[in-house]
Amino acid sequence: MLMANVVDKPLTFRAWWYRTGRFGASHAVLALLAATMLVPFLWMVLASFKPLVEVEQLNPFPTRWQPHNYPKVFEQIPFARYYFNSLFVAAWVTFLQCLTSSMAAYAFARLRWRGRDHVFRLYLATLMIPGVVTMIPNYTLMVKLGLLDSYAGLIVPAAFSAFGTFLLRQFMLTIPPSLDEAAAIDGASHWQIFWDVILPLARPGLITLAIFTFLGNYGSFFWPLILIKSEHLRTLPIGMLYFDTMYGRQTNLIMAASVMNIIPLIILFIVSQKFIVKGIQLGAVKG
């Protein structure tokens, strides 16, 4: 071993293990696990390029690459429409949630008023309520309001979040109070302080919240499933579900659709990894 030249004493196994071996072993374990994570995704991508008969065979690569599986998905279902619906709904919910949450967080973190801590504790307590408890009354409410089977029904109930308020409040508490005091002395209104001082400083928190809100609503399943009846309003997860139910045997097409479904997520993840890691460490856990 080359390494042995550097040390005077003969290299014992223990010393070698401590210096090099254990890192090699760790890499081996990590690589194995990483492969386990990756193989299902690889199978999905490769299956999406295969002719149907080959999907069932063990050979990893298609003998005949069939990229036209992808356009075929668009022929069989209004996949572009599903894409648009998902992105449209998720974008609106993200925007509204960031706005309402940051405003409420400002009231909780930067303003003093009687009963503030009680109201905040009430907000916190509701984080424990299982979504399914409010789902049933909200459904009947949507029926009453005539919002069943509509974009508004998908967007409005999701536009308010106790969790987002909590996250941004924690963030705003770390901003030094001298900043808004100085702005107040300069004659800034509350809205100006909020918009020009606090919001820019809370940007990392806002971005984190935006990512997780977008993610949660892009993949949202339960609520659109019960709310949406017409085909042209289906979001991606619902569209995928019915595609799988109706054309379940066309595994190659289903996999092509799945690949297209998760590509935006992978892009989002690569772009925003820094914020995601920080966000989770702040307690933002994808539900």
Binding site: L30, E56, M103, W113, V132, V133, M135, Y139, P237, T251
Partner: protein, 372 residues
């Protein structure tokens, strides 16, 4: 501090900032919770097959006599058995990743991928992977078993049919879960009421067993306590997928952050004392990670108790024989397929109370045990 007039001047501006969120909160969260409690005491049926009536506690008494409810509660607990494996795996991965190896970001990205992309698309992918006739998992199992048969003359292994099977991995895992649950309840109650806890837990166990005998009668076919039921089935398939999704996810990132916060001096001190790696882990790392572990366990409980909906809806329709129906999926079928809104609300409130109790007990006693 008591509010003074100076601190009150922000009241109206604060209301202005709070209003949009508070309105949404009252209309879509606080109001519905109370409304849901109210309709749990009615026979409300969206199809209006029966006239609307207040029926008091009848939904709840019906529920406790409902064999299906107990089976689905058991399923929910069974599916949570993957939790400790996933958490331990997350910890192991975090420890491996915290050694200043090269390429950590790449590993972290790969491990986090399933969590980030989780959802209907991944469930559909795994459904295809598990397909007993065409899926790659069984193709691999059959190939390996066939090769062993040709080369070594070993008998051919029958590959599991995964999502179509009512079998379960340990057969007795249900009883195991039951025992673990009782033991946990005992540990917690002991802190609160001393030696009386044993009596209470024994009484609860007796009551539960008696109840099962009377109602569900430990339905062997579904719960899978008989020897023929030992093997890999739908529930195990869902557990394996769940571990695959969760192992490198948020829990691992939390552990990674916590590991970087362990003071280096503690490790140096342990090294001076001549502690081995395992001893160092037990006496330094693990205690230092306790708050993180506690947080993860609480969150996993909350998540696990309301989990299993997507899996059931996308992969199995809650089958075979109801073995993958969890409480949330049951609520969904009752409310939105059978339209029995009143009954479904009652089930959802029972779930809520269970989650509330578990969380409360965890905080009250877990936090106490942690502070040494």
């Amino acid at each position: 501090m008591k509010a003074t007039s100076g601190q009150q001047r922000d009241f109206w501006p604060a209301m202005g900032f709070l209003l949009p969120n508070l309105l949404g909160f009252l209309v879509f969260t606080a109001g519905p919770v109370l409304f849901s409690l109210a309709i749990a005491f009615t026979n409300w049926d969206l199809q209006r097959t029966m006239p609307f009536r207040w029926i008091g506690l009848r939904n709840f008494t019906e529920l406790f006599a409902d064999q299906q409810f107990w089976l689905y509660a058991l399923n929910t607990v069974y599916l949570m058995l993957g939790m400790p494996v996933a958490i331990a795996g997350s910890l192991l991965l975090a420890i491996l990743l915290s050694q200043n190896l090269r390429g950590i970001v790449v590993y972290r990205t790969l491990f986090y991928l399933p969590t980030f992309t989780s959802g209907v698309a991944l469930m559909i992918l795994w459904k295809a992977l598990y397909n007993p006739d065409f899926g790659p998992i069984n193709a691999i199992i059959n190939a390996i078993s066939g090769w062993l048969h040709r080369k070594l003359g070993v008998g051919v292994v029958e590959a599991p049919v995964w999502l179509l099977s009512t079998k379960n991995l340990f057969g007795l895992a249900m009883l195991l879960a039951f025992a673990v649950g009782l033991f946990g309840a005992y540990k917690v109650l002991r802190l609160a009421m001393g030696r009386w806890a044993l009596l209470v837990v024994a009484a609860a166990a007796a009551l539960l067993l008696w109840h099962w005998r009377c109602t569900a009668g430990l339905d062997v076919e579904r719960v899978g306590l008989s020897r023929e039921q030992w093997g890999l089935g739908a529930r195990d398939a869902i557990i394996i997928m769940g571990i695959w999704i969760a192992i490198g996810g948020s829990n691992m990132l939390l552990y990674l952050a916590a590991l970087s916060n362990v003071p280096q001096e503690l490790y140096e001190a342990a090294q001076i004392d001549g502690a081995g790696r395992w001893a160092t882990f037990c006496n330094v790392t693990w205690p230092q990670l306790a708050p993180t572990t506690f947080f993860i366990v609480v969150m996993s409980f909350i998540g696990g108790l309301q989990g299993g909906f997507e899996q059931a809806r996308v992969m199995t329709y809650g089958g075979p024989a109801g073995t993958t129906t969890t409480l949330v999926y049951y609520i969904y079928t009752k409310a939105f397929e059978e339209f029995q809104i009143g009954y479904a609300s009652a089930v959802s409130w029972v779930l809520f109370v269970i989650i509330f109790a578990v969380t409360l007990l965890n905080w009250k006693f877990g936090a106490k045990e942690l502070s040494y």
